[in-house]
Symmetry: C2
Subunit: 225 residues, 2 copies
DNA sequence: CAGGCACCAATTGTATACAATAAGTGTTTG
DNA sequence: CAAACACTTATTGTATACAATTGGTGCCTG
């Protein structure tokens, strides 16, 4: 029984998916009319969806000249991952105090599902489960303001997260990190959580940068001159 | 040499000011047409400005029924202040490593200006300088992602910050806190910064809640029955 | 009198037309 | 040839008209 979504919402969801999934690569230029024609709607809902995405920093609005899919520099990507990790630590530490048995069970289920997704090679699902794992803990911190910040930072990293599955050993390694974090949460061991989270993030961070470099050089070699 | 602002930008700035300054109290209901008529523009830029404010959580959008100026519960206000403080600590600790002499000088000037504003009783300026003091340090942390988060949280607290000047002793006390923080930054003493920041925030926090309670009961007694 | 049904008004949601602006392009002129 | 100027075009910015949905109000009916 989901209520009808507005066109703005549909356009937003659709564009957002295309951006974070990498279907619209960083640097791509789009215009209001282009999207409106593609989705067979008027400019109004498109325009509003684009403004929302711009505010979330997923795209860049250039007055009178269109929009660009955000393409962060290596430094900005690292900054993003580091900031996310530092703020997540706060959430994780709080979660220890409030997390329920149900939520712990959800974490456990998530780990099992991830294992299955790795076995069957469902890359997209692996990423989704990764994001959900973290989100469960954001929620458990019982702070609206903190949840909002964490979710936003998580969203911003999502598009870079997808590429990580290309490195074949990585999903398994990251699952191990999640298991460590889960156990540290179970044990209510703050230091261990921080330690595992820092490891987890640094690991992702270094691979993201190299994967992005690879993707960038690949796309260069495909260009026509 | 500021370039012309779009109507959307003007509407946004104007509404935003009215909200954070308390001119539009929490709980007030507004509609697109009401604002459009008041500012003599069409609904389009108004609508876009309202959506931006809604995304910043300064107002609440209720489909087909208008917009409400956000009115946080005491718990949500406390949560907001706590979260802001916890994340600010990260920024303050980073700032130690990167802050320049110029920026330290800016902090010093800010303290002097605040002292003057307190003496002359310019409440609005006191609040502005308070916000700027913190913003200088956000910037000095040299992290785009962290800056964005801190600024957003600071914005959300602004409307509650204004009421604090009503408590006559408070501006002076908060200036003392800023001086302590300034000295701790000068000394590059992480622990002292955290300590001063926690004190600063808890202090503001407890007064905000009592001031909001007072304001709420005042406005009740003015209502007609 | 109570409950529901139909209508009406208010409000946001969407489409479209038009305005303004900025960038690019070609041409003209020194 | 280079620089500047005007012209065209692509794009966002704004206004307005219309659609859809919601909430309320009053009437009708049992």
């Amino acid at each position: 029984m989901k209520k009808k979504a507005s066109l703005r919402q549909k356009v937003y969801t659709s564009l957002r998916f295309d951006i974070v999934s990498g279907k619209l690569p960083g640097g791509t230029r789009i215009t209001e009319n282009f999207i409106a024609d593609a989705l067979k709607v008027s400019r109004t809902p498109v325009r509003e969806a684009l403004q929302k995405l711009a505010q979330e920093k997923l795209i860049l609005s250039i007055p009178k000249a269109g929009y660009l899919i955000e393409d962060l520099s290596d430094n900005d990507i690292q900054d993003l991952f580091t900031t996310r990790m530092e703020i997540e630590q706060i959430a994780f530490h709080k979660a220890i105090d409030y997390i329920t048995l149900d939520e712990l069970k959800n974490l456990d289920n998530n780990l099992e599902a991830t294992k299955a997704a790795i076995k069957s090679g469902e890359d997209f699902k692996i990423t989704e489960l990764d994001i959900e794992f973290h989100a469960i803990i954001y929620r458990a911190a019982r702070s609206k303001a903190l949840f909002r910040v964490c979710k936003n930072l998580s969203d911003l990293t999502t598009k870079y997260r997808h590429g990580l599955n290309l490195v074949k050993s990585l999903p398994t390694e990251m699952l191990q990190h999640h298991i460590q974090i889960y156990q540290a949460v179970l044990a209510k061991d703050t230091d261990k959580i921080s330690q595992a989270l820092v490891l987890h993030t640094r690991h992702a961070q270094s691979h993201v940068v190299s994967v992005m470099r690879k993707l960038r050089s690949d796309s260069f070699s495909h260009e026509d001159f």
